[in-house]
Structure formats: C-alpha cells, structure tokens
C-alpha cells in the first residue's frame, strides 16, 4: 500500500487563500499561547515552590541568629526557635492551636518530625 502523504489545501481563489492564511496564523497563535500557558503554569508552580522554600530558609536563619545573640540563650533554646521557624506555616495555625485536644498531639508530632 502506498504511503499516505499529507493533504495540502490549494487555494481556489483570493478569498480562499486569505482564509487559509488566517487559519495558519491562528494555528501559530494557538501553538504559542498553548506553549506559554502550560510552560508558564509549570514554571510558576516550581518557582512558587522554590520561593516558599527560600522564605522558610530565610526565616530559619533569622530566627537562629536572633536566638544565638540573645544573652543567656542555651543551645536547646536556639534549636527550638530555629525548628519552630523552619516549620512551614500551617493554614490557620491559631485555629489549629485552639483545636480539640484529640487533634493537637498529632499536629505537634508532625511539627516535631518536620523540624528535625
């Protein structure tokens, strides 16, 4: 069987040629917009992930330095402050703190493991 060749439309007249040109231009626009949409979304998600990580790292460094400069601060206290800052901010942390006693130990346990 003979290989199939892509069918190319030949313009029948000037109006048809203009319509084909508009279609081709639309296809180019669509390809570019699709590339930007998907690429921008992936890049945006990765950039935000990095941004939040760097913010947490900066907060950790600031808190650690502040604890180290505090007079009479012990290593345990420094570690505690640094670990607290290293914990990613939980949504509605104040609400989580006032949550029921049954839920609190689990969240604290998660916070400890994350800080380590």
């Amino acid at each position: 069987m003979a290989p199939r060749t892509p069918r190319t439309k030949q313009p029948q007249n000037a109006a048809h040629a203009a319509a084909l040109a508009r279609r081709e231009q639309g296809n180019r626009t669509l390809r570019t917009a699709t590339r930007w949409l998907i690429g921008g979304s992936v890049a945006g998600a990765l950039a935000l992930t990095g941004l939040f990580a760097s913010q947490a790292t900066a907060t950790t460094s600031t808190a650690g330095a502040a604890s180290a400069q505090a007079p009479g601060s012990s290593a345990a206290a420094t570690g505690s402050a640094g670990a607290q800052a290293a914990t990613p901010p939980a949504p509605n942390r104040s609400a989580a703190a006032s949550a029921s006693a049954s839920a609190a130990p689990q969240r604290r346990a998660v916070t400890r493991s994350r800080a380590s």
Binding site: R22, R23, Q25, G26, T29, L30, A33, T34, L37, I38, S41, G44, A45, L46, A47, L48, T49, G50, L51, F52, A53, A56, A86, P88, P89, A90, P91, N92, A95, A103, Q106, R107, V110, S113, R114
Partner: protein
C-alpha cells in the same frame, strides 16, 4: 527528595494551589469569550476554543497535583475521602469541604466535556453551567484555608482573578443574556 516528611511537598502543594486558581480563572474567562464568540485579528474563534480546553485540562492536572501533595505531605490531616466527599475532613471541614465541592464540580465538568458527543448537547450544557459555581467555590476555598493569603502579592493576584471573572461574567450576562444560538443555515445564507 519528595518524601512524606519533606517540606518541599508542602511548598509544592501551596504553589500548585495558587497556579490552579489562576488556571481556573483563565479557563472561565476563555469559556466566556468562547460562548460570546469573541475574536480578533490574528485570534480566530477556534484559538479561544482550543485554549479553553487546554487551560481546563491543565487546571485539572494542577488541582490533582495540589490534592495529592496535600494528602501525601501529611502536614495537615486531610485524607483521600475528604478530597472528594465534601465536609468530611476532620481538619478545617468547611474550607476543605469547599475544595472538595470544587473538585467534584470540576470532575463532572471534565467528564461531561470529554463525553460530550455521547451525552448530548443539552446535558453537557446543563452541567457546564456549574462552571459558574465551581470558580467561586474554589476561590473561596483558597481564601479561607490558603496559607499565603496574607501575602500582598497573593492578595493582588486574587483580586486580579476575581476582577477578571466577575468582569467577564458581567459582560457575558449583560451583553448576551441567553446562550447565543448558532446561526441557522437560512440565516447564514442571507449574509
């Protein structure tokens, strides 16, 4: 790197959540542009239609990544069932429940759109009207439970998204109170 105890998963879930609402906004705006048959020089209608589909499917992928990363991370106590069963979460049941409602609506919108040829235009259109409910529910979920809503740039982004959707919807319902019908063959022939 992306283990259950790694904060990167938590940061990733926050990032995908923000990107998801932006993608939903783009999808809704393009859907409105499509239904109103908006076009411009160099931007024919099929570009709007195809981009609307692409934006919607990309939003589904990012919302799936958001849900999976939130559950896999374990930092907040949300289980698999709470992702699709509204208001069943033990953690922040109302706000997580809104996210589950938005997820369910998006699943229905996606499935009916993929099966549009089989289910008929009337059912598809009926379900597609829920898109106007999906966006505000997802938006409210983000505002209510989002970790980063206190950040200035997140507020600016949220305001931009809200303005885009509200403006597009207002323009759509004031300019086209009913769904524009396709021109009939007779009407097209008279042109």
């Amino acid at each position: 790197v992306f283990s259950a105890s790694t904060p990167w998963v938590w940061y990733f879930s926050r990032g995908t959540g923000i990107v998801s609402i932006v993608l939903l906004t783009v999808s809704v705006a393009l859907g409105i542009a499509q239904v109103t048959r908006l076009e411009a020089r160099g931007w024919p209608r099929f570009v709007t239609s195809q981009l609307h589909k692409t934006a919607s499917l990309t939003a589904v992928v990012f919302i799936a990544a958001h849900v999976v990363s939130v559950i896999a991370d374990g930092y907040v106590n949300v289980r698999w069932g709470a992702a699709v069963i509204p208001f069943s979460s033990s953690y922040q049941p109302f706000w997580v429940g809104l996210g589950a409602v938005a997820t369910d609506l998006l699943i229905a919108l996606t499935v009916t759109s993929l099966l549009r040829q089989h289910i008929g235009a009337r059912l598809w259109r009926t379900v597609h009207w829920t898109a106007y409910a999906c966006w505000p529910v997802a938006f409210t979920h983000g505002l209510g439970i989002g970790t980063d809503t206190s950040l200035l740039w997140v507020r600016a982004l949220s305001a931009t998204c809200a303005l885009a959707v509200v403006g597009a919807a207002a323009w759509r319902f004031t300019t086209f109170p009913a769904t524009p019908r396709r021109p009939t063959v007779a009407a097209a022939g008279r042109r």
